[in-house]
Amino acid sequence: MPDLPQNILDFAAPFFIALIILEMFLGRRNGSVVYDAKDTATSLIMGLGSTIFPALFGVIVVGSSLYLYENFRLFDLGSGWLTLIVAFIMTDFFYYWIHRFGHRIRWFWASHVIHHSSQHYNLSTALRQTWTGPISMGFVVYMPLYLLGFHPFIVFFMHALNLIYQFWFHTEAIDKCPNWFEAIMNTPSHHRVHHSTNPEYLDANYAGVFIVWDKLFGTFVPEDKSNPCRYGLVSNLGTFNPIRVALHEWVAIFKDWRHAKNLKEVMLYALAPPGWTPDGSRMTSDMIKAEWREKQLAIANEKKEEA
């Protein structure tokens, strides 16, 4: 078994708190950062809950991962330096896909939506994490790594490192990083786009650590300063209650299931993109983007005619 600490997120907590205090003071001085007490309380309570509730399912996540690794792995990749480096990159690659599914499949979105439910974008937003991740079962996306021969504990460790990396870029206090860094790595600028509800920015920049995955798979959108980010959800929450925040999309799925007419609708209410309905009465992100493109086209045509 690789000798890697499995609780590094616990030890990261004091650094998170210290960095939030730093962001508060620096950001307030130049006006780039805004906190709201109620929003901050909800984000931080969600963060604390996310370290408690998913752990209740730990046996299932760890057990199924170890079972696959012990019985079906193709190779034994050990825990040498090269394996650790490749594991970090591969975990980030699969994280990209978990995150992309998290936005495009409602069953995964029901968990991930929590992270996007604040209308603020600051370091406390980074800690606004789901309580129901194991129910969505996003962890199954990592399973090919165990079959390849990466020990699950290495993958869990790399996943935790990935999340720790993601903490710092949830801020408006940093505008742009050096060009070479922006080209390869996920940064505050790239992730601001990801948290935005502007139609042009929807479904973009899913990366964890390396932004190159978005560039490779066609989901990269750069931040445009002339189009300031509006953070939150397409339909924002009207409550700070952490339990309602944690469960709202699950409740919505169950409500929709009650009205489903057949098995196909039951499946699509859970597996189609968020916003899907049989009659198109709600908007998916694709519909929002299409509507926005149509409007832009109409405006451009109007201008042409005027000229």
Binding site: D10, I21, D39, G232
Partner: protein, 145 residues
């Protein structure tokens, strides 16, 4: 034991950060009629508004629409706004206490909106929405019987 210490430290940390947020950004947000209207029409440009009711505490604004099956709402969430266009049938009731009317909604993400209103006619309009909801519920029962 270590886990309990981490938990206690996290709770203290949360309390500290929330107090700092409150102290460094004291909430002075208020919702004006113009601001609410601007935000609502930006998100729902096709809606025709027939009446606007703003809560005295500037925390919520309600729009009656020409399409009477829907209501417009703009609600202050801390220092941000939540804008909704809801079916009128989502209003499930109202709790009245002097000038305060808490409109309860069939919406898990926005279960209640409180209005403080001096104007009797505004209070009657809001209470009317709730009584519509009660009638609506009764009709359903009649239909089901």
């Amino acid at each position: 034991m270590a886990k309990l210490l981490i938990l206690a430290g996290s709770i203290l940390g949360i309390a500290l950060l929330v107090v700092m947020a409150k102290y460094l950004w004291p909430s002075r947000s208020a919702l004006s009629k113009e601001h609410a209207l601007r935000r609502y029409t930006h998100e729902n440009p096709d809606d025709k508004i027939s009446q606007t009711i703003v809560s005295n505490d500037a925390g919520a604004c309600l729009f009656l629409l020409e399409d009477s099956h829907y209501l417009g709402l703009v609600y202050l969430m801390g220092d941000r706004l939540t804008v909704r266009r809801i079916p009128r049938s989502d209003v499930s009731g109202a709790l009245v206490n002097d000038n305060n009317i808490a409109l309860t909604l069939n919406d898990f993400t926005m279960p209640q909106i409180t209005f403080t209103l001096d104007s009797l006619s505004d209070r009657q309009v809001i209470a009317g929405l709730a009584s519509d909801a009660i009638l609506h519920a009764q009709n359903k029962e009649v239909q089901n019987a």
